[in-house]
């Protein structure tokens, strides 16, 4: 067969590294969850992964008022959930009511992408309007993300703890869940009557594939081995060091960018050791991101030039602030009062400059990355201990700046809101500010930063918003709150006969247009 005539049929065997946990759509940020939700749910809008423009999907058109507090969507007619119920204004309204407000009785949490939500209003069966308490300029993009997949009312009625069962998730997507073996396999089959893919896509109608089989395969070596041995068609999480091996076998590597905050290490300035901006700057200067990328990663992992990816909206090149200069780093540390002590570790008033960080399991080769950073910092007399704790200790210690002055961090989302998500005390609060998620923080607050972040999230004017985003990037790096390392892709590998693989804007695969050329 030739590339121009897609072949229908066949089942794609997809090896996933981890089992999905919970398929409540806002939980789609977890890659395994998103990888499933992206096939079985549709979104109101479609973010073009190339242009990052928002395009129609279930919503044929929409209007936003000037201060971005009211959004009106006109829905496409004839869309149904796989249980036969209509995907109409009521369904959309209930979905966003839940995502925006949560549901305490059902223990459903609020979605991270919906800020300042107030209420919904059903104008007519195909028109729905959302009201916000404050401007929410990121909402439109928020309707396109993986966390905003639309599910049937029946699914919404289920308590949160039952949403790990994929067979209970009823969406309107091109695939439906056929069978599931908890924690092991998931079988999807194509929906024959699917006819409401994003308008601007070349492919319309039902999916080419008859089905997709997800198999949870935790071992890296088994996933790669199986792909090479022809036992699987497509795999997620392939490490940079295996890329060469995979490519020489004639297989295809996919590394879509996640377009959000770069893979970085951040500081918790509440910890006195890193409270001094000179110390943080020095450590930033001591970090050789080029060496990290060339040692551990590949061409799919571009060195960072700002705190967000170069493909992200609002990106401004900050390479000037990201120099590598050991001498300057030492000078700054001297200046800050940390003098070389016994064993080569710098100290001030008897306090040794010894920092610790927990490795982050979902990030690629994070353990090796942190160890390499530790090696680099050691050259300026700073010790970084890398911990591999259990999730409990990690979660608890991570709240305490004294225990974790340094932490790896990254998040993917193709909207400037992502910067606020990452740094704002009421959101992820990676810097651990007072009044944020941790009651262990004693004093650190950066009102200036928070003001900029507020501006990003609520400035309805696009130009001003992008300016705020640029300001945030510069400010974070001036304060050396974060040391961005590289732009993180999601790495997949597929057999050569797997055609038409597409990814949504932050790197979750979409198998709607995939076909098997064999």
């Amino acid at each position: 067969a030739s590339a121009d005539a897609p072949i229908k049929g066949g089942t794609l065997v997809y090896l996933e590294q981890q089992a999905h946990t919970n398929l409540y759509p806002p939980a789609g940020g977890f890659y395994p969850n998103g990888g499933v939700l992206n096939q079985i749910t549709d979104k109101l809008t479609y973010q073009n992964p190339e242009t990052l423009e928002i395009e129609p999907w279930i919503a044929e058109s929409w209007t936003v008022n000037a201060d971005a507090t009211e959004y009106t969507f006109n829905l496409r007619p004839g869309v149904t959930f796989s249980d036969g119920t209509p995907l109409d204004a009521n369904a959309v309204a209930r979905n966003f009511d839940t995502f925006g407000l949560g549901n305490k009785t059902l223990k459903q949490p609020v979605s991270e992408v919906v800020n300042n939500y107030d209420r919904s209003e059903i104008i007519d069966p195909l028109t729905v309007k959302f009201y916000f308490k404050k401007p929410s300029p990121g909402f439109l993009q928020g309707t396109s993300v993986i966390g905003s997949g639309l599910v049937s009312l029946k699914t919404l009625e289920l308590p949160f703890e039952q949403l790990g069962d994929a067979t209970k998730i009823i969406g309107s997507g091109p695939f439906v869940v056929k069978a599931e073996t908890l924690g092991k396999t998931l079988d999807l089959k194509a929906r024959e009557d699917y006819n409401w893919g994003p308008k601007k896509l070349a492919h319309q109608g039902r999916a080419y594939l008859d089905g997709i089989q997800y198999i949870i395969t935790g071992e890296d070596s088994v996933r790669i081995g199986a792909l090479i041995a022809g036992q699987a068609d497509f795999i997620r999480q392939i490490q940079a060091y295996d890329e060469a091996q995979v490519e020489t076998q004639g297989l295809q590597i996919y590394a879509p960018s996640t377009r959000g905050v770069n893979n970085s290490v951040v500081f918790r300035p509440d910890n006195p050791l890193v409270a001094d901006v000179r110390v943080r700057k020095a450590l930033s200067l001591a970090t050789n991101r080029q060496e990290i990328v060339s040692t551990l990663f590949s061409r799919h992992y571009p060195p960072a030039t700002s705190i967000i990816a170069s493909t992200a909206i609002g990106y401004v090149d900050q390479s000037g602030k990201l120099a590598f200069d050991l001498d300057k780093a030492k000078a700054l540390l001297d200046e800050a009062g940390f003098k070389p002590g016994a064993g080569g570790v710098r100290e001030k008033d008897g306090q040794k400059l010894v920092l610790t960080a927990y490795e982050s399991l979902p990030q690629p080769q994070n353990r090796a990355t942190l160890q390499l950073i530790a090696q680099q910092w050691e050259k300026v007399g700073v010790k970084l201990g890398v911990l591999a704790g259990d999730s409990g200790s990690r979660t608890v210690d991570d709240l305490d700046p004294l225990k974790t002055p340094v932490s790896p961090a990254m998040v993917g989302r193709a909207d400037p809101d992502v910067i606020k998500s990452q740094y704002y005390p009421k959101n992820r609060d990676v810097l651990r500010q007072k009044g944020g998620g941790s009651d262990k923080v004693k004093s650190f607050v950066d009102d200036k930063l928070n003001a900029i972040l507020d501006e990003i999230a609520s400035q309805p004017d696009k130009e001003k918003r992008l300016k705020a985003a640029a300001e945030a990037q510069a400010y974070v790096l001036d304060q050396a709150y974060a040391i961005p390392i590289f732009e993180e892709p999601q790495a997949f590998a597929g057999a050569p006969y797997v055609k038409g693989v597409a990814f949504e804007a932050v790197g979750r695969p979409s198998f709607y247009g995939v076909w098997l050329d064999k």
Partner: protein
């Protein structure tokens, strides 16, 4: 831990002594089995690695050479380098101290606690015996891995804590073996004879019961030593091992396995070292078991 009963059957019925007396212990030294010699050589060598790693390698086990990563074995790097450009051979040599001390600590925990339990249970009998042995049953009935993982989580990650966690799961085995030994020895006539010549409970326990119960325990300890190395490496495999960049063997195997497609020696080499050490420990324990009794 499954070797408990093996060892206690090993010196089962008292050999009548008639024939064994006639054949002296002298000739035992004449023909040392080759395997045993090899086992001792391996253990001694590994012990030397632990004590003086600098004698065996000049490379830094922690600081890698960026750009020199994932090199295949060569004369320069006997076993190649890992993803950070660290010499694998050097990491194995320097890892000996961590793995061995971990295993020793683990066995120590099991040995001390377990034998104390077993001794008290076997020597006092009655209610104390019943309570202790039921407790041992409880330890056995909780899946070992769950037990050790929980303990690690509780105590925090680290070589010592992992050792304690492994040791905790070994307690039951030691306790069972010790108790059965003590009960066996208690039945021996020489124990009654000791009481008969006016010995107090404590003096008999100390002079006769303990020393005579120890042969199997020592053999078992050697087996457990190998077992502990394996357990520690399994913990490393599951992500509960020593914190990086400690070159602990289990961690080396566990981390190396990710590179199986590109650099298989990263997991094969430490794997073979562990196999060799555990095999040697087993071989030595067998020889202890045989000469004991």
């Amino acid at each position: 831990m499954t070797t408990v009963e093996t060892l206690s059957t090993l010196d089962g019925p008292e050999t009548s002594g008639k024939t064994s007396g006639r054949r002296g212990a002298g000739f035992r030294l004449k023909r040392l089995p080759l395997g045993l010699v090899l086992a001792w050589i391996i253990i001694v060598m590994v012990l030397l690695w632990a004590v003086a790693p600098g004698l065996f390698t000049a490379y830094d086990p922690l600081q890698g050479v960026p750009g020199g990563q994932l090199k295949a074995p060569s004369t320069l790097h006997l076993l190649g380098t890992d993803s950070l450009g660290r010499d694998l051979y050097s990491r194995i040599v320097h890892g000996a101290i961590h793995s061995l001390s971990g295993a020793i600590a683990a066995v120590g925990v099991g040995l001390v606690t377990g034998t104390a339990f077993g001794l008290v249970a076997g020597a006092t009998g009655g209610r104390a015996d019943a309570i202790i042995m039921r407790f041992v049953d409880v330890l056995l009935s909780i899946p070992t891995l769950l037990l050790s993982l929980s303990i690690i989580i509780l105590l925090g990650f680290g070589t010592v804590n992992a050792a304690i966690a492994v040791g905790a799961t070994a307690i039951a085995g030691f306790a069972r073996l010790m108790r059965s030994e003590v009960v066996r020895v208690r039945r021996a006539e020489f124990v009654e004879a000791a009481f008969g010549s006016g010995g107090t409970f404590r003096s008999v326990l100390w002079r006769h019961i303990l020393p005579n119960s120890l042969t199997s325990i020592i053999a078992y300890t050697a087996v457990q030593f190998g077992w502990a190395i394996l357990q520690l490496s399994t913990l490393g495999f599951l992500g509960y091992g020593a914190p990086p960049p400690t070159p602990e063997w289990g961690l080396l195997i566990a981390e190396g396995r990710n590179y199986l497609a590109t650099a298989w020696w990263l997991t094969a080499a430490p794997g073979l070292v562990v196999v060799a050490v555990v095999l040697s420990a087993n071989r030595i324990s067998q020889s202890i078991g045989r000469t004991g009794a």
